[in-house]
Symmetry: C2
Subunit: 287 residues, 2 copies
Amino acid sequence: MFFKFIKLAFCCCYFFSVPLSAKESTEFKIRNTDTLQIKSEVSGLEYELYIRLPNDYSENNKKYPLVLLNDTGYSVAVASGIVHLMAGRDIEDVIIVGISYSKGHNPLLSRTRDYTPTYAPNEKRGHSLEVQKYSGKASQYIRFISDEVLPLVSQTYRIRQDKKVFVGHSYGGLLGAKILITNPELFDYYILGSPSFWYDNKAMFRLESDYAKSNKSMKAKVFMYIGSQEGSMVEQMLAFENQLKSRNYQGLSVRSKVLSGLTHHSAFAVLLTDGLQQAVPKQGKGS
Amino acid sequence: MFFKFIKLAFCCCYFFSVPLSAKESTEFKIRNTDTLQIKSEVSGLEYELYIRLPNDYSENNKKYPLVLLNDTGYSVAVASGIVHLMAGRDIEDVIIVGISYSKGHNPLLSRTRDYTPTYAPNEKRGHSLEVQKYSGKASQYIRFISDEVLPLVSQTYRIRQDKKVFVGHSYGGLLGAKILITNPELFDYYILGSPSFWYDNKAMFRLESDYAKSNKSMKAKVFMYIGSQEGSMVEQMLAFENQLKSRNYQGLSVRSKVLSGLTHHSAFAVLLTDGLQQAVPKQGKGS
């Protein structure tokens, strides 16, 4: 009787579980990826971390550079495909870590809250005045990255601590600039695409000036990019580059490119391709 | 007793099926995607079709351009991210369809068999002499696309039949050239990246000459790209462009770009960004 029951139970399992699996399997999955759940002790917010490992990760004991992404709605897909093609050929293979928007929240609210450096309830160029009410929590988010995300992924995966790359686009680029003037050594390389330096009456220029008053060093390699079709954002990025260079910070290297013919949204895949070649060129290839 | 059994069976289902689901859910899934299974009547081979629909697909009755990809190990991820960013801003929104490698086969064998135009068992620049034994089945694969893949996706999704875009890179670019001289009107736009025109002693140049002997028209818009770091492949692509232009085919438009500083593998995301802007620019933006 017991065995008969087990057999029937297995039939039921098959009946109930297979359609569920079949349904799940219809979405396109990116190979070599995994998801970690993380609840921030700093903010109480919950996030997912999307990890993409090198193809041969389990076949050796090597450590790999880390590439940290935000805005994972598009960035994980683009970066996974680009790294699949370029790793071992144009660039070193890397471990990609993408931080999701906070679970249960509107992505536009989440990125406004987490990626902007100042509280600016009246900023009309943001996503909406409604989400601007939540703005200005980048410092809290940076503590989440430094105290929780990086320790977790460093404990879980074999990461080279001297080759950590931050990638941010738009508000994500603004976040990267905020990290530079908060804890520049958190990453070794910063790929900042189309940064939103217009935010809150160019707040980042003022925040950088404050940093300069009490700091002589900024140990980081920064690559900034902007599409030539991004209007006043082009000169703002070049002005921020000039402001950084004028400080003669110890340890800082800054380079920028204006990408011909590209817009705010067409620039991302192009700048990521170039930025990875600059930050983690295949050994033997010059930076 | 019956209800008790059902309850126990459900417990078992929970016990057995949840870990399975939990395991599956850890891979990164691209939003708005679906997978169709297809067995080719032409070849007997089985494939998967990976579909990415526009965000607002279910909210309207519009028809969308089709973007057909091969080499889906990287192309679906890159294209999904790029389209997520650019759709409705730089380009029209599109339906992406990626054709997998044939199920159960080595991807290198699959792409050598399906994407190459001639049987060339001694071609040493291919993946290996072992997989070259299977080479030269592009005509069969093109029939699979025309007679099976496109009818299936056209029946299943709302596709604009006047805006079908083929994207191919490397051997996939060679396949696109083969489609041009087999059934040019199968697609309206061809984005051919870093095409392998060296294949089989430049067989594609001879095949195109054969086509020219009995055809005066080639109704297609072709955009070819190559990285400036691709050595002799640069001049081969330009030579193929010149050969096409010298025919003065009715209905043919060909343009090409040499992408500065890029290699065979770094060129893809850049050429896809540009190619989509050329083929399906947002209405109001010039091609």
